[in-house]
């Protein structure tokens, strides 16, 4: 049961970390960084060159050969997924009630953790010579290793 405080009553300060405040601040500061990171991502992948029609294994392998893009994509992964998950948490708290709300929040947290781990592993352990490459230049480069 939620009680509504009397108007102009002093806010009750709870002890411990104010997570809602830090979450609120996180949305703003990650948002500013994400504007740069996402528009950079879209510019390189969808706008410059041949855009989406140029994206294939070789294109991504070429990007990930440069540590710059590994750092960029890792920042993108963590900042964007946590930003998105925290936003969905807000919507879930607004629109879901009772058991459904708890189930949705658990699913959301689970999906977020799994994808953060998966994405980070992919970015940090990527090896262009894994699997059967169909790209001639890559086959040669990998054979030379």
């Amino acid at each position: 049961m939620t009680t509504i405080e009397a108007p102009r009553s002093r806010p009750t300060r709870r002890r411990g970390v104010n997570w809602e405040k830090w979450g609120w601040l996180y949305m703003r500061f990650s948002g500013i960084l994400l504007v740069v990171l996402i528009f950079g991502h879209l510019l390189v992948n969808l706008f410059l060159g041949d855009g989406v029609s140029a994206i294939d294994f070789a294109f991504v392998a070429g990007k990930l050969a440069d540590p710059f893009w590994i750092v960029w994509d890792t920042l993108l992964l963590w900042l964007a997924l946590i930003h998105g998950a925290n936003g969905m948490r807000t919507l879930t708290n607004d629109y879901a009630r009772g058991k459904l709300r708890v189930v949705l929040l658990v699913l959301l947290a689970g999906a977020t953790v799994v994808l953060l781990v998966l994405g980070t592993l992919v970015l940090t352990t990527f090896d262009p010579c894994i699997g059967d490459s169909t790209v001639d230049a890559l086959i040669e480069a990998c054979a030379a290793q």
Partner: protein, 143 residues
């Protein structure tokens, strides 16, 4: 009218006419409300794309042919239009997000929130005019 509203109404009698029918507020039905609605809808759409996008990109770690097959579906006309919608959603969310930040951290932002909404829409139109033709050529231009 509640008794409280009646009392405060007496204090400012003649200055604020009582609405004849249920009227909007400074917020309801105005730019502030619609930017909030758009922010939630675009944010939700972007979130679900992000989930799929992390999964499909993860294929790059497993197999080149599998990655190429899945990313190939991103180049079809329907997905191409989907990408246009995605960029449109991201553009709105980003521009309105910067507006929200200005409102939350500056007094100037609070004062000019309505102007900033329309500036965000204008910048979004410019962004889409720049992106859409080029992207549609990449998708429909043939190769």
């Amino acid at each position: 009218m509640s008794s409280q509203a009646a009392r405060s109404g007496a204090a400012t009698a003649g200055r604020i006419p009582a609405p004849k029918r249920p009227a909007g507020t400074l917020y309801r039905g105005r730019e502030g409300m619609w930017s909030w609605v758009l922010h939630r809808i675009t944010g939700t759409a972007i979130f679900f794309f992000l989930l799929v996008h992390i999964l499909d990109t993860s294929l790059i770690r497993l197999d080149a042919a599998a990655y190429d097959a899945v990313i190939g579906t991103y180049k079809t006309p329907i997905m191409g239009l989907g990408e246009l919608a995605l960029v449109a959603a991201i553009g709105l969310h980003a521009l309105n997000g910067l507006r929200v930040i200005a409102i939350d951290f500056t007094q100037w932002g609070v004062k000019h929130q309505r102007l900033m909404f329309w500036i965000a829409i204008a910048l979004w139109v410019v962004l889409m005019l720049g992106f859409a033709p080029r992207h549609l050529m990449h998708v429909f231009g043939g190769e």
